[in-house]
């Protein structure tokens, strides 16, 4: 996982609520056996017509979206399936952070394990971002702040462990492997065995 400390970019806005992981990556793309190259599957059913040509009116196909690394989405983004292909596809496409009022649990957990920053903000900030697509904002992982163009800084929740992993590009498996003595002790001492 890459180190992530600052994400600075114009925003691309998808205001719809409850955007589910079947939209982010439709199931027919899940027959892959690697995480690579899923960017082309991102929002495939919204992004391409039936002949596979990009739909000019879909936001990610517009010139304004080019180079945007921060997605502002409606509430409950990433609901549905546990497919980690969803953050893989967003990252492969070039998105590094998602801002919403609510982000689904499994999607959020998967995002943090891949360096995609989930930023949960209050209604007022969210409303302002929806109304002002394309503004340049800065996400500062170390201070857990979203900085808006007018200089306002809005805090967002991020537990210390996830923050450490993002800032240092550390994947959590190393930490877990480090607990192997405690795990072995737990296995031998527990009152019943599965």
């Amino acid at each position: 996982m890459e180190k992530t400390d600052i994400v600075r970019s114009r925003t691309v806005v998808m205001p719809g609520t409850d955007i589910d992981t079947d939209q982010i990556v439709p199931a027919r793309f899940l027959t892959t056996t690697t995480r690579k190259g899923l960017g082309k599957a991102l929002f495939a059913d919204w992004r391409y017509d039936k002949d596979g040509k990009p739909k000019a009116d879909f936001i990610l196909n517009t010139p304004a979206a080019a180079g945007c690394r921060i997605l502002v989405a409606g509430n409950n983004f990433g609901c549905g399936s546990s497919r980690e292909h969803a953050p893989w596809a967003l990252i492969d496409f070039g998105i590094q952070a998602v801002i919403s009022t609510g982000i689904a649990d499994i999607f959020r957990s998967n995002s943090l394990k891949n360096g995609l920053v989930p930023v949960i903000v209050d209604q007022a900030t969210h409303g302002w971002l929806l109304a002002n697509p394309g503004v340049e904002v800065t996400i500062d992982v170390a201070s857990c702040e979203l900085r808006l163009p007018d200089g306002r800084a809005v805090g967002f929740p991020l537990d210390g462990f996830s923050k450490y992993c993002l800032l240092n590009g550390v994947d959590q498996l190393g930490y877990l492997l480090h607990q192997s003595d405690a795990i072995a002790r737990f296995e031998s001492e527990r009152a019943w065995k599965p």
Partner: protein, 468 residues
């Protein structure tokens, strides 16, 4: 100090390293269910780091998501009936399991099936266990008083390598369900009504405990249907306290404890229900004594109404987008909408009681000529039992397709899809845009409502068709 909830007891029993302000808890996992779609990259990562599987004995594998639902005599058949990528994924899974000593209930096994159907069927799912799978419907196993939740592929790798996960303790949400279910109203209708009430994000960050007289009266299959769709309310997991019904279901299952171990397990399970003074972060109550069969009208499971109602009216933009996708008009009755496909199956509704329900409507009737109906058993065991009871004949004589076990048209990964624009009444769990095929329109319902709609050729109320 107040008493502990069912969730708290299971959580406490699995903490290897407690959580602190800076670090999540290390939580031990008792059962890891795996399938072909969400594991290959986890095995890739372990291989590249030279890591082995810590507890292959606590890992169970099957083939369900991208597997065809036509008969596979040998792996060679896959190349004929499956897309090359799906066939390769299945071979990769078989190979990964063989190389790592993981039990695979694959082709040729009497126990293959949808991962959330076979876990309980084998008796691997037990009260008080922590159960994970790279699949959000792992919440199903909570019906037994287990803590079951879906994980991503990175976490699949964590469990394979360490048998543990890093977790923050979720909040708790008690949902009290009271009242005697009216005739023709099932567990599926109850969970759809609950999601309609609390919303698709209503359970985010929480583990639900379903409680109350209605829940106590349900059999295990109905309880699984309820817990299965906890994720559709955004919850991490859904749990139901184990009781006589749970214990009776598990007794004698192939992987359930036996003899003295069984007695000890039962004693342990009896202590799991929430203490009378347990506190929950939030409580919600619902009375189901007047509930009608429920159907969805939009593009998420929270967009749901009684089948006798009309499509609601709202000026919300996402709501309008959903109605436009579904080609339904606000204010129009749900009853009578033309149906193209009916799917009975999925980890929500593919067990014997679901097939009994569907067959009770179809017996002596015909599926409407305009409708394609698929009935897909959840497992080889369900398939065999249904065939032994002659249910396959009921479905075939009615004009439905009787297929092999798998996830099938729930997510359309294996080629079982509804076509663009087709309306599919489905007993599965998600009516997201394109879930069952590009442009397909899904209406979630119970097996009774699905079968009644297949017969009528339009969305129909099953209650007038119930056998006496």
């Amino acid at each position: 100090m107040s008493g502990r909830s069912l969730f708290q007891k299971v959580w406490d029993d699995h903490v290897v390293v407690p959580e602190t302000a800076d670090t999540p808890a290390v939580l031990y996992i008792d059962l890891h269910l795996t399938h072909e779609v969400t594991t290959p990259e986890a095995f890739n990562v372990l291989r590249s780091r030279g890591l082995s599987i810590r507890r292959p004995d606590l890992t169970v594998a099957t083939l369900d998501h991208s597997t065809p639902t036509v008969r596979i005599a040998s792996l060679k058949d896959l190349d004929v009936v499956s897309e090359p990528a799906a066939a390769a994924q299945i071979r990769t899974m078989i190979d990964n399991c063989a190389k790592n000593g993981i039990r695979m209930y694959g082709y040729g096994s009497d126990s293959r099936g949808i991962v959330h159907v076979i876990g309980p069927e084998l008796g691997a799912t037990q009260p008080g266990k922590t159960i994970v799978c790279g699949d959000s419907h792992t919440s199903t196993h909570g019906a037994f008083g287990a803590l079951g939740f879906g994980i991503g592929t990175t976490e699949v790798g964590h469990v394979l390598a360490t048998q543990c996960l890093l977790q923050r303790r979720p909040k708790t949400l008690a949902i009290n369900v009271e009242g005697k279910l009216p005739r023709g109203v099932t567990a599926k209708d109850v969970i759809l009504a609950i999601i309609g009430k609390i919303g698709v994000g209503g359970g985010t960050g929480s583990v639900i405990e379903y409680r109350g007289s209605t829940i106590r009266s349900l059999d295990m299959e109905q309880r699984m249907t309820i817990c299965n769709m906890s994720i559709e309310a955004g919850a991490r997991a859904g749990m139901i306290a184990p009781d006589d019904t749970t214990i009776q279901y598990l007794n004698g299952r192939p992987l359930a404890p036996r003899g003295a171990a069984w007695e000890a397990a039962v004693a342990r399970w009896r202590a799991l229900p929430s203490d009378a003074d347990a506190q929950f972060d939030k409580e919600v109550s619902i009375d189901v004594s007047q509930l009608a069969p429920m159907v969805t009208f939009g593009t998420n499971p929270g967009m749901v109404v009684p089948v006798t109602d009309a499509v609601p009216v709202s000026d919300d933009a996402s709501f309008s987008k959903a109605l436009a996708y579904m080609k339904v008009a606000a204010g129009k009755p749900m009853l009578g909408m033309p149906v193209d496909v009916v799917f009975v199956g999925s980890c929500t509704n593919s067990r014997m009681s679901d097939l009994h329900d569907a067959a009770s409507i179809l017996r002596g009737r015909k599926v409407a000529k305009s409708v394609r109906m698929l009935v897909v058993p959840g497992s080889v065991q369900v398939q065999r039992q249904a065939e032994a009871e002659g249910l396959d004949k009921v479905f075939r004589e009615a004009g439905a397709e009787w297929r092999e076990a798998g996830c099938s048209m729930c997510l359309g990964m294996n080629g079982d899809i509804a076509l663009p624009g087709q309306l599919c009444v489905s007993t599965s769990n998600r009516n997201f845009e394109g879930r069952q095929g590009i442009g397909a329109r899904s209406v979630l319902a119970s097996p009774l409502t699905a079968a009644a709609s297949a017969v009528a050729g339009v969305i129909a109320d099953p209650r007038p068709l119930l056998p006496n």
